[in-house]
């Protein structure tokens, strides 16, 4: 009896403590490997990254992002020209074509988090709410990594 009880508890424990990097599914969309960098204080903007995979036959569009930790969240796009000059601008809506994955990664697109309500602290998580035209709203738990991090471990 005790062994069954212990096994059940162990199974529950494993299920409940599933790693935060489990993909989040909503309809045809899968949100993978979200992460954010820690911030220093609240005066500087933060950045979050993730991949959105569309496993369906119809395209979808990311129309907006919200984050409770920030007054404003927006997808921005970093571009680098031939002479190595980088600039950043709002990316607007993001098309997620059918059968493809769109990545927000350092040096490319990122969710810029502005007007931080509190600092992004390494080891904690923040919640991003992604608004999609077809799939509706998807809440994503985003682990906060170190300020010098290049992303979650493979």
């Amino acid at each position: 009896m005790y062994r069954i009880f212990a096994a059940t508890m162990l199974a529950l424990l494993v299920t409940v403590s599933a790693p935060a990097d489990e993909p989040i599914r909503e309809g045809d969309l899968v949100v993978e490997r979200p992460w954010a960098r820690a911030s220093i204080g609240t005066s500087r903007p933060g950045a979050a990254y993730l991949t959105i995979r569309n496993e369906g036959a119809e395209a979808d569009t990311l129309t907006g992002v919200e984050a409770s930790i920030a007054g404003q969240a927006e997808v921005h796009h970093t571009t680098t020209d031939a002479s190595g000059v980088t600039r950043m601008e709002p990316a607007g809506s993001l098309a997620i074509p059918a059968g493809e994955a769109v990545s927000l990664a350092p040096g490319g697109r990122h969710v810029m988090l502005m007007d931080l309500n509190e600092p992004l602290v390494e080891g904690k998580t923040l919640t991003l709410t992604l608004a999609f035209e077809r799939s509706g709203e998807v809440a994503v738990s985003v682990p906060i990594l170190g300020i010098g991090s290049r992303g979650p471990a493979q």
Partner: protein, 207 residues
């Protein structure tokens, strides 16, 4: 030849003076124009070199001469940069960690092109979080402009209503490698992998 009358001599003298004056003015305005072209940052007129007088994140004045004998990795950016600068600085941090014993020969520098917000105190808040070896440098608007110009590093303030304080900075994001004699060697891309940069840098250190 008939001797020139006094009037003729005077007239010829006037012609020579006028010609001389015209030459002087033309040469001077061309010189001025060359200067203007150079200050826009073209590579044609002069080579990249490390030439700066700035203040580090501990409030100490630092000049390029202070680093003579060391290899420099120089990156221009600003602390309100959410994406490119953290990536570039984390790349530099990883490169430094990968150098092992040679790390003492290389000095990474992070120069702010947003001195309005990036005071030495703001830099002290930010730079050490990436790697203890990185020295943050800032200064007056003119000092930063001079430093960027010597590296032919471009930067521009861009109005952006959604950004903090209503602006962001567009800037050259190369990591400039300067040799121990102060000469520019090559640029690394800020999003090259630390491994790629470390391999090349080690070759340079051994050459």
């Amino acid at each position: 030849m008939k001797r020139l009358s006094a009037t003729r001599k005077a007239l010829w003298a006037a012609v020579f003076v006028a010609a001389g004056a015209w030459l002087a003015v033309t040469a001077w305005s061309e010189y001025r124009q060359d200067g203007a072209v150079e200050s826009v940052g073209t590579a044609r007129q002069s080579a990249i070199e490390a030439d700066f007088a700035l203040t580090d994140h501990r409030g100490q004045p630092r000049r390029d001469e202070d680093f003579a004998g060391q290899w420099l990795l120089v990156f221009f950016g600003f602390t309100n940069c959410p994406d490119v600068c953290p990536l570039g600085l984390s790349t530099i941090a990883d490169v430094m960690d990968g150098l092992g014993e040679d790390a003492g020969r290389v000095q990474p520098l992070f120069v702010s092109i947003d001195p309005e917000r990036d005071t030495p105190a703001a830099m002290a808040d930010y730079v050490p979080a990436f790697h203890p070896a990185i020295v943050g440098l800032t200064g007056s608007t003119a000092q930063v402009a001079d430093a960027a110009e010597s590296f032919h590093a471009y930067y521009e303030k861009i109005e952006e209503p959604t950004a903090p304080d209503g602006y962001t900075m567009s800037h050259s994001a190369s990591i400039y490698l300067i040799g121990p004699d102060g000469a520019f060697i090559k640029p690394y891309s800020y999003n090259a992998t630390p491994e790629e940069i470390a391999v090349d840098l080690k070759e340079q250190l051994e050459s």
